[in-house]
Amino acid sequence: MKRRSLLAGAASLALARPVFAQTRAPTRVLFWHAMNGALGDALNRLIARFNKRQSAVEVVGVFKGGYPETLTAAIAAWRAGQAPHLVQVFDVGTGSMIAAGQAVKDLWQLVRETGAPIRPENYIAAVRGYYSLPDGRMASMPFNSSTAVMWYNQDAFEKAGLDPAKPPATWPELVAAAKVLKAKKVTKYVVTTSWPTWVHFEQFAAIHNLPYASEAGGFKGLDARLLIDAPAFVANLQRLLDMAKAGTFKYAGRDNLPDPVFYSGQAAITFNSSAARGALVKTAKFRFADAYLPYDPNVIKRPINSIIGGASLWTMTAPGRTQQEYEAVAAFLSFLGEPAQDAEWAAATGYVPVTFAGSDLLKRQGFFAKNPGTELPILQLKRLPVTDNSRGIRLGGMPELRVVIEEEWEKALGGQQDAGQALRTAVARGNAVLRNFQRAMGG
């Protein structure tokens, strides 16, 4: 009996040995993101650089899939008490994350608790506003932000007799140019668009200073209602439907499904993220350029800033997470906010530099001069003034709202309804989604 317990004691000591033999291991930060391909490579470079530079923190980046899958995984992990330290959540998930309460640690809170040098005034207004609470405190860390621009095929313009250096600036000019392009039959389709709702509803509202939803686009409360059945939106959608009927606009699907239509040269004009530059540089067999989003002069004389897309980084809580771990997260976030890292990330990916210092650094390096068209998205984001209508949109269930609008648009394209009916139905269905979210939040 004694010998057995002695053996058992020795065995347990042997197992416990590693704990005593270990020196201070670096604090591990688990970072779930949705960047793959070239974007993933650029992110891994940043992470490796941070890990090499110091030995107190080790960041482990994990690609979790697309944005919706990453968010769902993070929520499920939090419910199981195993949330990652950092998660990259897309722009339309901001509403859900802000309402997440104790599941996340807002950036301002992290900064206050750890003293990290992350200040709101370092960030350009359009970026800062999107991820801040109404009183200006930042909720999440901006990281990869893009905006929507118009891309056009300069070779096609030239073949049709249009000036490739002067893209249409207003919607009437665009419609006229489209007619010319169609008449000359230069490309298979004339105008198409990626991210139909992001560009033609969310961005359209922002640059025209129109409210997308009440309560300052949802920033001020959960009882926001959609306002996209206003005459300006109806006229814009009707214009696109008329163009579709005239053969000058091709609806090629939701989200980024339509990307290949422009990349392959089948369309002369498209609307897409500024981050499409990366793919175009690699694959386009024609001269291309970006341009400001066209505006409707009947609605506004001088368009204001567009809003950002992309994603931001959120700090998540977990039972037993220590102050040391939060400090490690803050150290990594401060690193990402450095001008050098911000500038390199923007240059490598086509996302815009989110800090003033990063933007200035790129300018000093001559990046904008060497790569024409790269400064345009930043200039479009910096247009003033930033109003309640152009700060961004913060609504719960935003992914579903986009699908609802796309469905009504598709039904209108099929001839089942006109723009007015489509948008009124979309507003009714969308408001039901918003009320559901409000009810789930206990509001």
């Binding site: 769902t72 309402a99 579903e400 796309e406 469905e407 598709e410 099929g414 979210f437």
Partner: protein, 293 residues
């Protein structure tokens, strides 16, 4: 003569059954219980504000036109897939039952498609039928038919039905063939000697004797069409255009994963579970009576 295995004590049988029971509990019973619990609460994505909601989630579903539309669409979809795949399966089985050369080859080739996963089958059909990049799709458009299932709801539904039924035809083929071969030759011969023609023989003798098989396949096909077609639909149309191919199971995914509305999605899952239980109960009740399938 019944064969029975007699165990000495209770421990060994329990241990042998334990793995299966554990799998069933962990992967079926526990998630089902969680779903039922979720369906009677109103909750947010993170589970921080959870309130008991009674039947209100279910009531909201049946008051929602979108859900009722999905119900109707699913009924149409299941019916179409079942009828198409069973009819084709039966026709092919009848032909493959004949005394022809290369019978074994035909049978093997007809069974192959069952091995293709539904999502892969959908991708194959996409490469054939896509209006821009599909072989047949481009041909149809060049011939003047306006084929674009990304915009035309009826075409999308048709394509999704065909893509889903395609793999299931093989499954039905196998069972119908077995059923046909279990019909005693003496009965067919007797009918032939009495002067019954082929179609008459088929209608009055073969079909009635195939009834158990047919009923079994009906239930299996309905369950397949309702649940296992999720991959096919998501790969082809994602429920679009404009909800035209959004069946109940696609709607559960959309509401639960995309929209993070866990209460509503769980309520929909609970209703789907009841439907399947009903179908299975029906199957057991009717087939349990027959001793020969």
């Amino acid at each position: 003569m019944e064969r029975r295995t007699i165990f000495g004590g209770r421990l060994l049988p329990a241990a042998l059954v334990l793995p299966q029971v554990a799998v069933t509990v962990v992967f079926f019973l526990l998630p089902a219980a969680e779903a039922i619990y979720s369906s009677v609460t109103a909750t947010d994505a993170f589970g921080l504000h959870t309130r008991f909601a009674g039947w209100s989630n279910f009531a909201a579903l049946f008051a929602d036109n979108a859900y009722l539309g999905a119900l109707a669409r699913t009924a149409v979809f299941c019916g179409a897939v079942t009828v198409l795949s069973m009819a084709l399966g039966l026709v092919l089985a009848v032909f493959a039952d004949r005394e022809i050369r290369g019978r074994a080859i035909y049978r093997t080739l007809l069974i192959w498609p069952y091995a293709v996963a539904p999502a892969v089958a959908a991708a194959l059909w996409m490469f054939v039928m896509h209006p821009e990049i599909g072989i047949l799709g481009r041909l149809l458009n060049r011939a003047g038919l306006h084929w674009d299932y990304t915009l035309n709801g009826a075409q999308a539904m048709g394509l999704v039905v065909v893509a889903s039924a395609w793999t299931q035809v093989s499954y039905n083929f196998v069972f119908f063939l077995a059923g046909l071969q279990s019909i005693p030759r003496a009965v067919i011969e007797a009918a032939r000697m009495d002067g019954a023609k082929g179609v008459r023989r088929f209608r009055t003798i073969v079909l009635p004797l195939l009834m158990p098989t047919t009923f079994f396949l009906l239930i299996v096909n309905l369950v397949y069409a309702a649940f296992e077609t999720f991959g096919a639909i998501m790969a082809l149309t994602r429920g679009g255009p404009g909800q035209a191919t959004e069946t109940l199971v696609v709607k559960v995914y959309r509401d639960g994963v995309v929209n993070l509305d866990l209460s509503g999605s769980s309520a929909q899952s609970a209703i789907l579970m009841l439907l399947v239980i009903g179908l299975a109960a029906l199957q057991f009740r009717f087939l349990g009576r027959r001793t020969v399938v």
